[in-house]
């Protein structure tokens, strides 16, 4: 009775006549996870390209001793922006692109838990990234390294607005990441299809789940750190200023309490991708599924307990260094479990080396090499030698490029037909793989030796005849080859987009998980029926049982859809304006009016007004979404 009465009270949802946007407006207002995935991919790809160009400029400067292609200041800006852009604006959005494109499909859901927040997360990331990159044309980019250590990043040593762009830009972009992480946690906990218990979830869904949990716990640390640094720089606080009673080491702790989990935020999704690609192309179920899950959780937990290994030379004392050395080496155990599980999955499988599997197979040895140097670096006494040399640079590029980026390219080739309905060219894909991996090892393998011979990282040039010359030349040639590999991938994308859609539901023919049971690209409601999951590798299980597709878990019914809305975009524009306004609030401009507007926080207030106004709109205007009726579903 109470239920019926309640139904009468709720406003009748509009069944039809939902406003459909087209063109640019469609992209700005979309809350569809598949479209947001594509937005993340293009935006992430753009920043990845910018970061790549910065990398090539860095390598060009280092091609020979005493080069004067760029000066020291520009070089500092290049390395800072290369690191920051690649990690926060390049690979993380591409990770989110794949998560958005795949996770709801893999768990049999029709969208993420909070579609509105999903869009908000994308737009805040994009505007944060734009703000950070505006620094190039607005008085100089940040130049204190991607770690932005104090006191170098304080006003005493970084007087321009460079580091402000870093703190405010990352703050805004970080908001998007946090929103995205919470969204995927809620999605995976609450929206799995009937029958999909946690231990029946595909590995990529598991790693996304754990990655989101790490984001939830790690990002608040950098948020706080950036707020404190912003206060120090703009409002004259003393958190990191020793003269005022602050501590520069505090920044190092805060940064690495975030920064170390961050590297697991980066690599775990790649582990997930590899764990999807290898079983598909080995045509075997993943070896040791439950140990993979356990290893993922263990890596996430240990990832929070090792941050001080970035600070061995800071002077924490031998006891702390020993403890953190041991906890760091412990991480090699679950990671090793994963490596062996992948090898045992390939072992005895009927392996097909399609492009995704090529990248996955290239990933395993490359990532293992990065892991081995990681254990070397974990040894605190040895680290006193390695610290701040090219050995460290080689190590983290092996795990981030050889690990994460290879994993991402594998995942992009693998899920491209699902995202866009078109198969990428296998020929060009193989060219991409061979040029990229050859270039990669040329670039970074030699850097181990450069580091061991004493070449420091972050130096803008070096003297001749220290045995650095040839290896640096080789490294630069390798970087060029990686650039060519990336261009071939880009060509592949363009060529493929000109072709008519050719991908069937299960284009690799050996798809194991739910996303391959629906059309490519999926309709906006994903699943006509919510599928009924009967085991791990749900779709594969039905195929081996001789069934055509998934069994439905419910009759065809009306599907509730979220409404498109421009509010997330508007909110992000507001934050962007507020950020710029706050950054320049202490500046003196040529025009008295402009100075007045900035110095009295009027610009900041205007931006916040836009954001909070949009929030108010969202709260006051009750949007119940719309429905796709069964007749429309059958009409297709």
């Amino acid at each position: 009775m109470a239920q019926a009465a309640h139904t009468l009270k709720s406003p009748k949802p509009a069944a039809h006549g939902v406003k459909r946007h087209t063109g640019l407006m469609d992209w700005i207002t979309t809350v569809d996870h598949k479209k947001i995935a594509i937005l993340y991919l293009w935006a992430g790809g753009l920043f990845f390209g910018i970061g790549g160009i910065e990398a090539l400029l860095i390598r060009w400067q280092l091609i020979k001793p005493m080069n004067d292609f760029v000066d020291a200041q520009t070089f500092n800006e290049l390395i800072t922006m290369h690191g920051t852009t690649m990690i926060f604006l390049g690979v993380m959005p591409i990770i989110f692109a794949l998560m958005n494109a795949v996770i709801p499909l893999q768990i049999g859901a029709r969208d993420v838990a909070f579609p509105f927040l999903n869009a908000l997360g994308f737009w805040t990331f994009l505007f944060g990234g734009l703000l950070l990159n505006l620094s190039w044309i607005m008085g100089g980019a940040p130049d204190a390294g991607w770690t932005s250590y104090t006191p170098l990043s304080g006003t005493a040593y970084s007087g321009t607005h460079g580091v402000d762009f870093y703190t405010i830009g990352l703050q805004i972009a970080g908001l998007g990441t946090l929103i995205g992480g919470i969204n995927f946690l809620a999605t995976i906990i609450t929206m799995r299809a009937p029958g999909m218990s946690f231990m029946r979830m595909p590995m990529f869904a598991w790693t996304t789940f754990i990655t989101s949990a790490i984001i939830l716990f790690a990002f608040p640390a950098i948020t706080v750190g950036l707020v404190l640094l912003t206060f120090d720089r703009i409002l004259g606080a003393n958190f990191f200023v020793p003269g005022g009673g602050g501590s520069p080491v505090l920044w190092q702790h805060i940064f690495w309490i975030f920064g170390h989990p961050e590297v697991y935020i980066l690599i775990l999704p790649a582990f997930g991708i590899i764990s999807e690609v290898i079983p598909t192309f080995a045509r075997k179920r993943l070896f040791g599924y439950s140990s993979m899950v356990f290893a993922t959780i263990l890596i996430a937990f240990l990832g929070f307990m090792v941050w001080a290994h970035h600070m061995f030379t800071t002077g924490l004392g031998p006891v702390a260094n020993a403890l953190f050395a041991v906890s760091t080496m412990l991480i090699a155990v679950p990671t090793g479990i994963k490596i062996f599980n992948w090898l045992f999955t390939l072992w005895g499988g009927s392996v097909r080396f399609a492009t995704p599997n090529l990248f996955a197979s290239g990933f395993i040895p490359t990532f293992t090499m990065g892991g081995v140097t990681g254990v070397m670096l974990a040894s605190a006494p040895a680290d006193f030698q390695f610290h701040d040399t090219y050995f460290v640079v080689a190590h983290f590029h092996y795990v981030i490029v050889g690990g994460l980026v290879m994993g991402l390219i594998a995942g992009l080739h693998y899920w491209w037909p699902k995202m866009f309905g078109r198969m990428l060219s296998e020929t060009l894909g193989k060219w991409t793989f061979w040029t990229f991996i050859t270039g990669f090892h040329l670039t970074f393998f030699v850097q181990h030796f450069l580091g061991l011979m004493g070449m420091q990282r972050r130096v803008f040039t070096y003297l001749p005849n220290q045995h650095f010359d040839t290896l640096n030349l080789v490294s630069t040639i390798g970087a060029g080859l990686m650039g060519i590999g990336t261009l071939i991938f880009l060509t592949n994308i363009i060529v493929t987009s000109k072709k008519p859609p050719d991908a069937g539901d299960d284009p690799w023919e050996d798809g194991r998980t739910l996303e391959w049971s629906i059309p490519s690209p999926p309709p906006e409601y994903n699943f006509k029926h919510t599928p009924h999951v009967r085991g791990l590798d749900a779709f594969w299980k039905e195929k081996t049982a001789g069934n055509k597709g998934m069994a439905p878990a419910e009759p065809i019914g009306s599907i509730h859809m979220p409404s498109a809305t421009p509010l997330p975009f508007i909110m992000s524009v507001g934050i962007f304006i507020a950020g710029l306004g706050f950054m320049f609030s202490r500046d003196h401009f040529g025009s008295a009016l402009v100075s007045f507007l900035f110095n009295n926080y009027i610009v900041t207030g205007l931006g916040l007004l836009i954001t909070f106004g949009a929030m108010l709109m969202r709260s006051l205007y009750d949007d119940h979404g719309w429905h796709i009726e069964p007749e429309e579903l059958e009409g297709r």
């Binding site: 109470a2 709720s10 949802p13 949990a213 716990f217 702790h253 309490i257 307990m305 019914g557």
Partner: protein, 107 residues
């Protein structure tokens, strides 16, 4: 069909509402009283400083349990995930804060 979907959505909310407002008012008063005791202990100025600090800490712990259990519904069924995540958050944040503070200010 659409109506059915909506009933289901509202059904979830209804479960919390069944507890009735009495309990919530009681908990709200309890939170307020806990806060008042803490304030009064300091404002009176006659309470021994050590005792006041201990009292404040005890009040704070009780307050945390009340807030978490009732307002965040951790005592309710089906809240295993929030409990796991909140405890995980405490564990990780606590470790980091204690160790970082130890090195920054006391070491």
């Amino acid at each position: 069909m659409a109506a059915e979907q909506h009933t289901r959505d509202h059904g979830v909310k209804r479960r919390h509402r069944q507890e009735g407002p009495q309990k919530h008012i009681l908990i709200f008063v309890l939170s307020a009283v806990l806060t008042l005791i803490a304030f009064a202990a300091v404002a009176a100025g006659e309470v021994n400083a050590v005792f006041a600090v201990i009292l404040l800490l005890v009040m704070a712990v009780i307050q945390v349990f009340v807030q978490m259990g009732y307002w965040m519904h951790l005592k309710d069924k089906g809240h295993m995930m929030p409990i796991i995540f909140i405890l995980g958050g405490f564990l990780i944040a606590g470790t980091c804060i204690i160790m970082a503070l130890y090195w920054v200010w006391w070491d």
